[in-house]
């Protein structure tokens, strides 16, 4: 299939109330309405979803893999950003 008449759309599905939409995959479709239908037909066949978003893939700005070290490695040495130094009282239970 050629890209021009049916561009790519990214599909996000929310499985339950209170959860965030999660990336499920992508579909080709002529426009937003058809992309929504294709997303429903391809990604919610087994009761996965209560809500679907479609976004033109071309609207996504992605980080450059070549920038990975600059962007993400500096956080590796900053373990104090993780909330793991607190004693959780037993009464709190599961957090």
């Amino acid at each position: 299939m050629t890209e021009a008449p049916t561009p790519l759309w990214e599909v996000f599905v929310r499985s339950r109330n209170g959860l965030a939409h999660k990336h499920a995959g992508s579909v080709h479709a002529a426009d937003a309405q058809m992309a929504l239908q294709a997303a429903r037909d391809v990604y919610t066949r087994r009761g996965e979803g209560l809500s679907v978003w479609v976004v033109p893939s071309s609207a996504i700005t992605a980080s450059d893999p070549a920038d990975r070290e600059m962007l993400f490695e500096p956080t590796g040495s900053k373990i104090y950003r993780h909330p793991t130094f607190y004693e959780v009282p037993d009464e709190v239970g599961h957090m």
């Binding site: 579909v27 080709h28 309405q33 058809m34 239908q37 294709a38 037909d41 391809v42």
Partner: protein, 258 residues
Amino acid sequence: MPVATTSVTVDETPLVLHLLRRADDALILGHRLSEWTGNAPTLEEDLALANIALDLIGQARALYDHAGAQCGLDEDQLAYRRDARQYRNLLIAEQPNGDFACTIARQVLYAAFIDPYWRAAMSSTDATIAAIAAKAEKETAYHLRHSAEWLIRLGDGTEESHRRAQAGLEEMWPFTGEFFEVDAPDQALIDAGIIPDPAELHDGWSSRIDAILARATLARPRDGWMQTGGRSGRHSEHLGHILAELQYLQRSHPGAKW
């Protein structure tokens, strides 16, 4: 010498007859749509058509089950052990798929009729029919939306897609008269509040189709000679071919189970 047959005999009371008509519509159209599996124009549409086919086959099962409870047969016997003359489906359901535009045109015409039919049937005095209708209506509402959106884009698309959509529409139009037929057995059920009167659904269907065709920039075909006969078992040659494939296993090994 009498010829042995594996066909069942069905006691067609008005209720059984009507349930078989609706069930056969769903099974045969579902089977036709399933023929697109692996062959649809895109992967997305391959799944979409298979989804619709599965919805329809599910509806057929529920209807056969209800019919079978009235006449002492099970869903497999009703689906696999009646010959073409015993099938009661609308002729439009058995028509070959043609190209994608033709399949979509057929689906729009049928869904625009059957969706309001199920909505009306939700208030049937037969509780099982009302329950089947409530489930089916949610499915057919999507079938109508999906196929109508496609028809609009095909009609209002390229020169070729417009030409194919118009041709598909012309091809299927003569089979739409059958939607609204009422015979004596159906009239008895209508009078008892068991099924909706299809004739009353005609104007709504007609204006819905007009609205879709206007957006699709397609011309409404002329109401000429309308094909008929499916409801009493007079079918086109196509049904026999479908049943040969559909029924082969149960005809060779009656009662076989997985």
